[in-house]
Symmetry: C2
Subunit: 247 residues, 2 copies
């Protein structure tokens, strides 16, 4: 049995998320990948993704893998072969053969996500699909201060979409940086794992600090409360991008 790992990038604008929703008629990244892989293999291929990005969420380094005993194409030629038949908003960046036990989700040691805010009085037509437009000025220093409180191992229960049923809500955050480039404010998070909507709720909470609605230190209390209503709102999907998965 061969196990093949692909690193892919996609513009999620036109997709109903990563995970397959067969029978619904809704387009997903997983189905687009599986359909093209199945065409190349001549037999049904099913993929596993490192993260189930939501509708409208993008990726610069999503990782998927699939197992197949008869895979016909040399590994080095997979990107070109797939890119030739994939829709042009999904791209295979690289391919490699991995040990049979490799699992794109369970083998992941860390993931990096970014979230872009276009923080200017005037929106940008070119970033509208890749950022969230906020005309009110953000205090980036306060956001940075607030973000420091998220670093390390915590119970991130309050930064999880309400209704989630995950039992262990402790996660470790290694990076919570705020970068600026002109009107762009980019929040970058690296952690050993993320709860459902965790990044978008952390962004909503840090933005509250950036708007002066909470003090940076209050993030500590929010974490300790373990109550979703204490944290900020879930920010919209289009600013979110899955950047990298580390194994």
């Amino acid at each position: 049995m061969r196990n093949i790992k692909l690193t892919i990038a996609y513009d999620g604008t036109n997709y109903h998320g990563f995970q397959e929703q067969r029978g619904t008629g809704l387009l997903t990244i997983q189905e687009a990948m599986e359909d093209c892989l199945t065409r190349l293999a001549g037999e049904r291929i099913q993929v596993v993704g490192a993260g189930r990005t939501d509708a409208g969420v993008h990726a610069r380094g999503q990782v998927i893998n699939f197992r197949n005993p008869n895979w016909p194409i040399p590994i080095g030629r997979i990107p070109l072969a797939l890119n030739g038949i994939l829709p042009d908003d999904i791209v295979v960046l690289s391919a490699e053969e991995v040990p049979e036990e490799f699992h794109s989700r369970f083998s992941a040691k860390a993931k990096t996500y970014s979230y872009c805010i276009w923080n200017d009085r005037i929106p940008s037509p070119f970033y509208r699909l890749y950022s969230y437009f906020m005309p009110v000025p953000l205090n980036v220093k306060d956001m940075e201060q607030a973000a420091l409180n998220l670093l390390g191992s915590h119970d991130f229960k309050c930064f999880q979409a309400s209704g989630s049923t995950v039992k262990n809500t402790v996660r470790t955050l290694y990076q919570a940086d705020i970068l600026t480039d002109g009107p762009l404010v980019k929040l970058v998070f690296t952690g050993d794992g993320f709860l459902y909507n965790m990044v978008r709720i952390m962004v909503g909470t840090l933005v509250q600090a950036g708007l002066g609605k909470i003090k940076p230190g209050q993030v500590v209390e929010i974490l300790q409360a373990c109550n979703r209503v204490m944290a900020g709102p879930t920010f919209p999907p289009q600013g979110l991008c899955m950047e990298q998965v580390v194994y």
Copy 2:
């Protein structure tokens, strides 16, 4: 009579160019602007654009103007008022009142256009609508050498779409720079005016130099031939962006 100048940016992907094509059912930038201005003014507004960008061509600094005796909105509030009702792929960057004789096209002293090529083996899902994908490596030094030959005043007849009826085809090019940023090769042209498709044909010609199909010095012969078939192909619209108009 008041004369108002607007600087606008747009993602041209979803439009059939700048110029109105009323009655055809095709969406254009001019019509979108006129429809929104007419809503604000309560009477029919017609605009003039500095350049008639083609379908799929973008703008970061297109300039339009319109004349109206009864314009109701303070100049400083025009961007916000228009951006509130325009589709989100068109944005008004600034507004100012100008002398009655100002004409966005005829008063223009110079214009700057850019053309982006994504020069990498692997395409980018994020630049697919804003660049032209070329997997074959370009020799940027040769393109720069070739571009130098375009600078100055020349008869650019061979860099004009065939079938054009413009009589005076002499134009002056002030800038023909090639900038690189990772896989992006960005060609920037500033001139006192551009013939129809001139930028996209210059790009097609410089790319031939970048691929070694012509020598950089051959651009001189191409210019002198005054024959469209001597120059390179017209490059596709999505890489082109109207950057700035100088008055």
